[in-house]
Symmetry: C2
Subunit: 204 residues, 2 copies
DNA sequence: ATTCCATGTGAATTTAAATTCACCTTAAGC
DNA sequence: GCTTAAGGTGAATTTAAATTCACATGGAAT
């Protein structure tokens, strides 16, 4: 019984992965059930055994992304102790995420994908703002330990960090992978670090 | 003859404005010809007198946005002399653009809107990267006049500036206007300024 | 005054998808 | 060995748009 359930879960995952892959790899055109199906060597109607409708697939993708992002936060929390190091590593994880799955930023930063339903947008907002809160937590911790200038507004710093990632995703995507992603992060990091610095002259 | 042409241009503009308004105001759902038409009190088929097809309308929107963005750059260049002031004012113009036309960031930062055609994405990339070049020019000028730390990588600084705007647009949009746009810019600016600062300790 | 063209209309037509449905297949449990 | 249900299929069906077309209309140029 549990094996069956598992098998079903596997198919679901495959569908989500395939969808994400299409979104990553191919053009911008909206995800088509037919295309996902053919990626898996299935008939379009087969997907309806696993998902109620296309919307349900999109929801599953959303959840998939959320998991990936939060796993990254967990990971750097475990692996690093220092706030600066954590942020730096998180940045590099983002770099990977972007370059491996062009589809992810596209989904996160765009909403054209989502139907008319307000709900999806709200969920996306919760994911993003929840992520920002995680960043904030890392930053605050760093401030307490005086690794980061305690005078800074952690919310603003978190968003600034986010502001390194988002344009990168945009440019990478728009440029069809021509944009120098790694160069961007390499150049952006020292600027950001400059903001974090303790004893900064930023505050009057 | 020129009057006719003008009248035609006016209609075209109206169509673009209406489209933008729908994109701003209403939900995410893709722009529908029918909806644009009814906004103007026209039958859907009427739009085809002015644009070959929907794609042409989207192109016109793109052009409209490009103009707005470049006008803002022109404006701050004329009005302000100091690079820092220029950037600060540009930021506030962006704030206005976002709050007045939710549709603009949505189009710029999303590509789901655009059909399969690679061309639109390329055009969008040119617009964005062209805009970044404008920012860079302002920054370089400021560096020459020692208003901005000359050791900084102007490209990276330009993107960081852009990184203040983009997340704001995203959050504003996703939150359905709940997000505190003005607060964001107010908090982000001093952090950014801290980066620009001459005699910064950022560079080894 | 007549002509003509730009603009507009409403009713088809087309198109491209999602979705449904009646019918197979196969492997697990009995 | 039989039964059942989950997973699969291809051929409709539905749906929602964009788009086309034959037919107005009104105002400007001749």
């Amino acid at each position: 019984m549990s094996t069956e359930k598992l098998a079903s879960e596997i198919r679901k995952d495959q569908i989500v992965e395939a969808a994400l892959h299409i979104l990553s790899d191919k053009r911008v055109k909206k995800l088509k059930i037919t295309e996902i199906a053919s990626h898996l060597g299935l008939a379009p109607s087969a997907l309806y055994r696993h998902f109620k409708n296309k919307d349900a697939i999109l929801s599953a993708i959303l959840e998939h992304i959320r998991e990936k992002m939060y796993k990254n936060v967990e990971h750097v929390r475990r692996k690093r102790d220092n706030a600066i190091d954590r942020l730096q590593e998180l940045l590099s994880l983002h770099e990977n995420l972007i370059s491996q799955h062009q589809g992810i930023p596209r989904i996160v930063f765009s909403d054209e994908l989502w139907g008319q339903e307000k709900i999806k947008r709200q969920r996306m907002y919760l994911i993003v703002s929840g992520y920002l809160l995680e960043l904030e937590a890392i930053i605050c911790e760093g401030q307490r330990k005086n690794e980061i200038n305690p005078d800074l507004n952690p919310e603003a710093v978190a968003r600034m960090f986010f502001g390194i990632v988002q344009p990168a995703a945009l440019l990478w995507h728009m440029s069809e992978g021509t944009f120098d992603l790694s160069g961007h992060f390499t150049a952006a990091w020292p600027l950001f670090q400059c903001v974090l610095q303790v004893e900064s002259r930023c505050d009057p």
